[in-house]
Amino acid sequence: MMRTSTALWAFVLFLLSALLMALSLGAGSQGWEWPSQMLAVGDAVQAQILWDIRLPRSLGAWLAGALLGLAGAVAQGLFRNPLADPYLLGSASGASLGVSVYMGAWGGSLTATGWATRLGMTGAAFAGAVLAVLLTLMLARGVHQTLRLLLAGVVVGVVLGAVTSLATLLHPEALLAMQGFLLGSTAFVGWSASLTMSLALLLCVVLALAMARVLDALALGEATARSLGMPLSTARVVLIAVLSLATGAAVAQTGLIAFVGLAAPHAVRSRVHTTHAGLLLLSALMGGLLLLAADLLARSAVPAQELPVGVFTAVLGGGYLLWRMRAAQQGAQS
């Protein structure tokens, strides 16, 4: 039963994503255009706009969303905390610190397409994210107390954010790039960035699915999981690596985009009751769909102009969580 509903939901989310992807090919800088008409002209520039700008960008938005959704599901399962997400654990701040240090030291701009720069930046973001998560865990002395964990995450996020600002001030030539980075944008995502993210997503999904059974056992409590013979310490290391790689890969290509990682697993859980394997997969699909939808809105809400996609994810994701909160309260009252 469960398996069919998971598969069904995966299919629905995939279909919706494909639909939005097709729609997004028509959302241009000057308003809506029919992609088929653009190609019919047989003009090289129109084709380039379609295949080298809009398609990798839409794909990049979906991939970044999927990475963040997966990171959120991993964090919530691993820390057994529904509020854990890449942002609240400080890992996104760590990733952006990594990127800013990289930009300061090597002068690589965020939109660089050279493979060395792309991988270097992703690596730096990954290292920063790992550092931040470890710092948070150390300050919280483990994952058991929700309040401690969240507080430590906030503290690490704020402190690393301050260090990022300092690093940016020391390199005024990178100021604009960094400012844009903090807003979050999918506008500069090309094929190389998309490919980097898809490789990271593939690796993260495989690793996370391999550990899904441990997450299922963990949901019953740590003692139970241990008594079931689960390799808890290995799973922790692997899952923290997955969380950091997913966050780092998304942040390095698109900047800071909030709420997707938090909202995607919640949206899945509210509709489907499934094992962690299903939850991880569906959260990635849901995250991709959410960010793709936000990106489409950001591109087409105001004609001939583009709003920062981070603004939309904050409004969409934040609004959704508030609505969930109200629904939960009313459910408790009745």
Binding site: I53, F188, A304
Partner: protein, 296 residues
């Protein structure tokens, strides 16, 4: 004299390059950029670069500008292609530019280059920069260097004329220039500071502080400038700052507040620098006149 020799060399080189099908231009990011000639469609993503193109008489080749470019009036009708943080990649590509002029700090240059767009990164911050950029843009547009030379000379004589209008009392003033109410000031090493220095007017912010330093409000109170030059946005906040009511320049109203349109002229290191110099000279003359009235 050595300078003239250098320009002669530039002229000769430019003439030689005109023969070629593609020309190579060195941009401010130290990259040799190959530009296919003739250049008919130009996108500029920085106001001072837009103004430079137009000052060279090539305004009609512009097919798109950033959203802050507003002079001359004709560019306001062109497609707006975003700003420094969010240039529209698709918008730029859709204009099929032969060359895109943009600041090195503007995002997206690499992305545009990866899409096969010719990008020239230029950074006009000082007077020397403005001169270099003028000649580079002229070369990129395939204009003879004599055109750039003539434009530059007209500009310089305009600045000289403005400076000549400065009264001796006005020249003796020590000035504080505020570019934004944070407050950020313009030091001797900024483009505005260079103009002041050329006038023989002293700036309370030394070059060592960097071109546009964040200023400690106490520093200004201690320095007691004779006159203050500021943008419209600073007017309200200046009187609110602790201790600033004691500033002589504020008490005697020796303050020039420039509206956005004029402030644009002051801060853009481009072909309107003579106009900017005239604004500053007028301001300092007025301030000096107020001072002599106050004391007399």
């Amino acid at each position: 004299m050595r300078k003239h020799g250098l320009w002669l060399l530039v002229v000769v080189m430019a003439l030689w390059m005109l023969q070629a099908q593609a020309l190579t231009v060195q941009d401010d990011a130290h990259q040799s950029v190959e530009i296919k000639t003739p250049v008919r469609r130009v996108v500029s993503l920085l106001p001072s670069l837009t103004e430079t193109v137009c000052a060279l008489g090539a305004c009609d080749r512009l097919v798109g500008v950033d959203r802050y470019s507003n002079w001359p009036a004709s560019v306001q009708a062109l497609p707006k292609l975003g700003g420094g943080i969010d240039p529209s990649i698709e918008g730029v590509v859709a204009q099929r530019p032969d060359v895109v002029l943009m600041a090195s700090s503007t995002r997206g240059a690499d992305r545009l280059q990866a899409l096969g767009v010719t990008v020239l990164r230029l950074e006009p911050r000082t007077r020397a920069d403005a001169q270099r950029v003028l000649f580079t843009v002229a070369m990129a547009l395939g204009l003879p260097a004599t055109t750039a030379q003539r434009t530059w000379q007209e500009l310089q004589s305009g600045v000289d004329q403005a400076v000549a209008q400065l009264t001796p009392q006005a020249r003796a003033q020590r000035v504080y220039v505020e570019v934004s109410p944070a407050p950020y000031g313009a030091s001797e090493s900024s483009f505005i500071g260079e103009n002041l220095m050329r006038m023989g007017v002293s700036n309370i912010l030394p070059a060592a502080m960097g071109p546009f330093p964040k200023v400690n409000p106490e520093f200004v109170v201690r320095a007691q400038p004779d006159a203050i030059i500021a943008g419209d946005s600073s007017r309200q906040s200046m009187l609110m700052r602790p201790g600033w009511s004691q500033l002589r320049a504020l008490r005697e109203e020796r303050v020039c507040v420039f509206a956005q349109e004029q402030a644009d002229i002051l801060v853009r290191a481009g072909p309107r620098m003579a106009e900017g110099a005239r604004l500053i000279v007028d301001c300092l003359n007025r301030a000096a006149a107020k001072a002599s009235k106050g004391r007399g």
